[in-house]
């Protein structure tokens, strides 16, 4: 099932992100998905996130699909040239994976194999274009595909709370033109900023999913605010996490903050995307508290 169909019906689409293991045993990930992520529409699988080498997104998506979950295949341009990217897209189609999230990807130098060659033959925009070409039955070299062409729901990302929001909006427009059917944002902690962003982004008429990372503690959000592009955390949230360390450590504060941001923003967006970063067990609580699931 393509999540674009749900957007068309006006449904609030809920997705959760999971990171494949640093190894070849995704059993724990699939078990957690069975346990905690039954309530989400689809599970979005990262592609060696932050340039840290992990088991592949495509194989993990296949594992999740076989276990009965809808999967979103994240595909970055960091490690593959256009031949490998197109080949993986055809493989995804073969596995029945219909939802994609297409990104440029972080530079290898920020990851755990910093010696790696950065590829970036394509980028997020030209990758969206490449998928569109495959859907028309031709590859980027202009060669025809055999048989019926694949069809996908093509997703992209945008940093809604970036300090370069004008530049991000320009890029968003390019992605829309290249065929993006939905957007997922970088983690939002500042509802006001997000709402302002949405006032400008709605001109494109493409569904936007509010990205959220459940905050685990004040140190984590401070780190992200200082170091992670596109993330800024208001002082009030840092103070809230500092106030009762036990409550914060137990996950309650993080769940409350995340649910509150959803409530504040949900009327301005078309979906929710939760990046739990190991706290998948709290996803049902967040959704319940935000009034999205019974």
């Amino acid at each position: 099932m393509k999540i674009s169909e749900l957007f068309k019906k006006g449904e609030m689409v809920i997705t959760a992100e999971v990171g494949p293991p640093k190894g070849c045993h995704p059993d724990h990930l699939i078990h957690e998905a069975d346990e905690f992520l039954k309530g989400v529409t689809a599970i979005n699988v990262t592609d060696s996130q932050s340039s840290k080498m992990r088991m592949g997104s495509l194989a993990t998506c296949k594992g999740l699909k076989d276990a009965g979950h809808e999967a979103i295949f994240q595909l970055t341009c960091r490690d593959r040239n256009r031949i490998a990217l197109q080949a993986d897209l055809l493989s995804a189609a073969y596995f029945g994976i219909e939802n994609l999230l297409l990104l440029t990807g972080d530079h290898p130098s920020v990851g755990d194999n910093p010696q790696a060659k950065p590829v970036f033959d394509l980028d997020s925009v030209s990758l969206l274009h490449a998928v569109g070409q495959l859907e028309k039955g031709v590859d980027l070299g202009g060669n025809e595909l055999e048989g019926a062409p694949p069809t996908f729901c093509k997703g992209a990302v945008v940093s809604a709370c970036s300090d370069s929001v004008d530049v991000q909006l320009a890029k968003m427009e390019q992605k829309v033109k290249a065929g993006a059917e939905y957007f997922q944002t970088q983690a939002v902690y500042d509802s006001e900023k997000f709402i302002k962003f949405m006032e400008r982004a709605k001109q494109f008429g493409v569904p936007v999913m509010l990205g959220l990372i459940i905050p685990k503690n004040a140190g984590m959000v401070n780190y992200m605010s200082k170091n992670v592009p596109g993330i800024s955390v208001p002082e009030a949230i840092v103070d809230e996490l500092k106030a009762d360390k036990e409550r914060t450590a137990s996950g309650v504060t993080g769940v409350e903050i995340t649910a509150r941001i959803i409530k504040e923003c949900k009327d301005y967006c078309q979906g929710i995307h939760i990046m739990a970063l190991g706290w998948e067990k709290f996803v049902p609580d967040v959704l319940k508290m935000a009034g999205l699931k019974a």
Binding site: T104, H107, S126, S164, V167, Q168, A170, P229
Partner: protein, 202 residues
């Protein structure tokens, strides 16, 4: 243009074993060479022979320059070449029975042949993007060489790869904005043609 930098001294000493013959290229207009440091190091190595010349990359010139040193060169155990990678390969190719080692690392320093090195780089990609990017090259100003705008790795105007480095696309956007040319950003997806970089007559 290119720039050559001396390898770490211990690396050079590790290969300059036995009777060492040094060839130092004074470079050419296209090369920035660490002349003073190289001469200094050659002295320290106390080679059995030493030639300082130019255009080591030119085999005919190389033969002429080395003609009167052939005895020492033939007797040497190793030949250590202070030059760009092209020079080292030329020496190696001309003395195939000798251990020929490079004393320098060679880095690209594009910017047009025969001109003073500037802060601007050109990767000689064969499909210049400057006309659509306010005169700022996305290939060399962006650490990912992206041609379709900014990635998600920019924070406070700086690149995720290096906090000292300005985001190239942030610069391009601001320049275009200043020039009233933001429509330049509204183009269909661009795809690089890497094949151009391998064609002889690009």
């Amino acid at each position: 243009m290119l720039i050559t930098v001396l390898k770490p001294k211990e690396n050079i000493e590790a290969v300059a074993k036995g009777k060492t013959f040094c060839i130092t290229c004074e470079g050419c207009k296209e090369v920035h060479f660490p002349e003073v440091e190289a001469i200094e190091l050659v002295k320290e190595l106390n080679p059995t022979g030493n030639v300082i010349t130019e255009y080591v990359c030119n085999p005919d010139n190389l033969k002429v320059q080395l003609a009167k040193h052939m005895d020492k060169l033939t007797a040497a155990d190793t030949v250590l070449v202070f030059s760009c990678g092209v020079g080292v390969q030329t020496v190696s190719d001309n003395f195939r029975d000798k251990k020929v080692y490079a004393a320098c690392d060679t880095y690209p320093l594009p910017g047009g042949q025969g001109v003073t090195p500037l802060e601007f780089d050109c990767e000689q990609c064969g499909e210049c993007y400057l006309n659509g990017t306010g005169g700022i090259c996305p290939i060399t100003a962006c650490s990912k060489s992206l041609v379709n705008g900014q990635c998600g790795g920019c924070k406070d105007g700086k690149c995720e790869v290096d906090k000292e480095m300005d985001c190239g696309w942030e610069r391009i956007y601001k320049r275009l904005e200043k020039l009233g040319l933001l429509d330049e950003m509204r183009y269909p997806a661009k795809l690089r043609n890497f094949n151009l970089m391998y064609e002889e007559n690009k």
